[in-house]
């Protein structure tokens, strides 16, 4: 019933890649997901492992209760279980919120679609279909021909401008795990860089740190 590696969080602030428990990883994924404006890669393996451990502990608690084990012990295990469950549930819920918010965008953009899990994809497709159908039946079919698309404002629109996109220029607070040097501006403009030491806190545009978050070098706070 032990966690996947040694006691999580060796020092107060920084987690090393070596001694990171599943709960720490889940906490990190939850935090990043909450702070990021777009949906991030689904941590399938982590979620599965967490689910297994939760089920295991639930069974153990039932056993303990039946065998009349020290109620203090039981309540402590229950607390740990509650905390882990909260993390897992909140993580999944935040993702669902983002899917609902950017429903059409997530299905249109290949990059975003890759980041959803199987069930999320099914949910998103069904949701989008339902919403599209709803729009069509209530409003769109009653509009003149050129304006009947769910995705475009009118036939002459070149892009799908009725699809809200996540705002990638939002500022986020982040902390770096390593020394990182990032290009502040997009190519073509002045190549200013910002260098982050390990442990520095920065308010920074999400777009700049997006790649570093995916590779695990930077955490969102």
């Amino acid at each position: 019933m032990a966690s996947s590696s040694e006691v999580g969080g060796s020092s107060a602030d920084y987690e090393t890649m070596m001694s990171t428990s599943d709960v720490e990883l889940l906490k990190r994924a939850w935090r990043n997901e909450k702070a990021a404006p777009e949906i991030l890669q689904y941590e399938g393996a982590l979620v599965e492992r967490a689910k297994e451990q939760i089920e295991l502990v639930e069974e153990t608690i039932e056993d303990y209760v039946e065998n009349g084990k020290d109620p203090l012990l039981v309540s402590l295990y229950q607390m740990d279980l509650d905390r882990t469950q909260f993390l897992l549930r909140s993580y999944l819920r935040v993702r669902l919120l983002k899917i609902e918010k950017f429903m059409f965008h997530n299905l249109k953009s290949e990059e975003a679609e890759r980041r959803l899990s199987e069930q999320e994809r099914v949910f998103a497709t069904k949701c989008a279909d339902d919403l599209a159908k709803h729009f069509e039946e209530t409003v769109l079919l009653k509009l003149p021909e050129n304006y009947q698309s769910v995705l475009k404002q009118s036939q002459i629109s070149e892009v799908d401008d009725m699809v809200p996109q996540p705002h990638l220029d939002t500022f986020v607070v982040c902390r770096s795990n390593n020394f990182v040097s990032l290009n502040l501006y997009e190519e073509g403009e002045s190549p200013e860089t910002v260098e982050m030491e390990r442990g520095d806190l920065y308010f920074i545009r999400y777009k700049i740190v997006k790649g570093a978050i995916e590779s695990g070098q930077i955490d969102l706070i």
Partner: protein, 210 residues
């Protein structure tokens, strides 16, 4: 419901910030015997009377509330250390002293549940509150001096403080960026020094009136 903080106010509710802080390790001295705890979040114990051991804050608070242990206050929470930090905070207008990232939450939980384990508790509490006030005030005044940048370094700001200023700073920086960016494009195109853009020095009113 899990995951339902109102996104318009702040990304994380204070309770969620506290939740994150509760995984910090603190030292306790148990007064009972208990076997090792094999939690999902890690293994802690064994618990032997009078032998100090490190556990997460949430576990420590739970044990303390049931009268099963006493706290060893963390080193940074001594009157001497806090007085030093307060002095240093007051001296410098722009830098923050190094404090544990979750010092607000840790101090709060200790005061609520374990105040009898803290020597000079009234002194310590008032010091912590003063430090919080000074730092928050410093944050607010520094906010007025932003310019249009893409990255702002905020060293040694703690979790709670970040969470408090985050909504305002985000919108301020976004507005700066939005107004700066088309200017950058225009300058690139024309390449001539057109009339200098006036820096928008209009001070922003903080969202919260003090």
């Amino acid at each position: 419901m899990a995951g339902q903080t109102d996104p318009h106010i702040s990304l994380f509710s204070p309770q969620e910030v506290e939740f994150m802080a509760e995984d910090e390790l603190v030292e306790i001295v148990p007064n009972m015997n208990m076997e090792q705890l094999n939690f999902i979040s890690g293994d802690f114990g064994r618990f032997i009377p009078q032998i100090p051991t490190k556990v997460p804050l949430w576990l420590a608070v739970a044990l303390k509330r049931r009268g099963k242990c006493s706290f060893r206050p963390p080193g940074w929470m001594s009157v001497d250390n806090l007085t030093q930090i307060l002095e240093a905070e007051r001296e410098s207008q722009s830098t923050f002293q190094a404090l544990p990232f979750s010092y607000v939450e840790i101090a709060r939980l200790l005061f609520d549940h374990a105040h009898d384990d803290i020597p000079d508790k009234y002194m310590v509490r008032s010091l912590v509150e003063d430090i919080r006030d000074v730092r928050l005030h410093k944050l607010e005044t520094n906010l007025g001096s932003f310019q249009g940048t893409s990255a702002v370094k905020i060293s040694n700001v703690s979790a709670m403080e970040v969470n408090i200023v985050r909504p305002f700073v985000r919108r301020a920086l976004e507005a700066f960026y939005k107004h700066d960016k088309p200017e950058a494009d225009v300058d690139r195109d024309t390449r001539s020094s057109r009339q200098q853009r006036e820096a928008n020095n209009e001070p922003r009113r903080p969202l919260r009136q003090r």
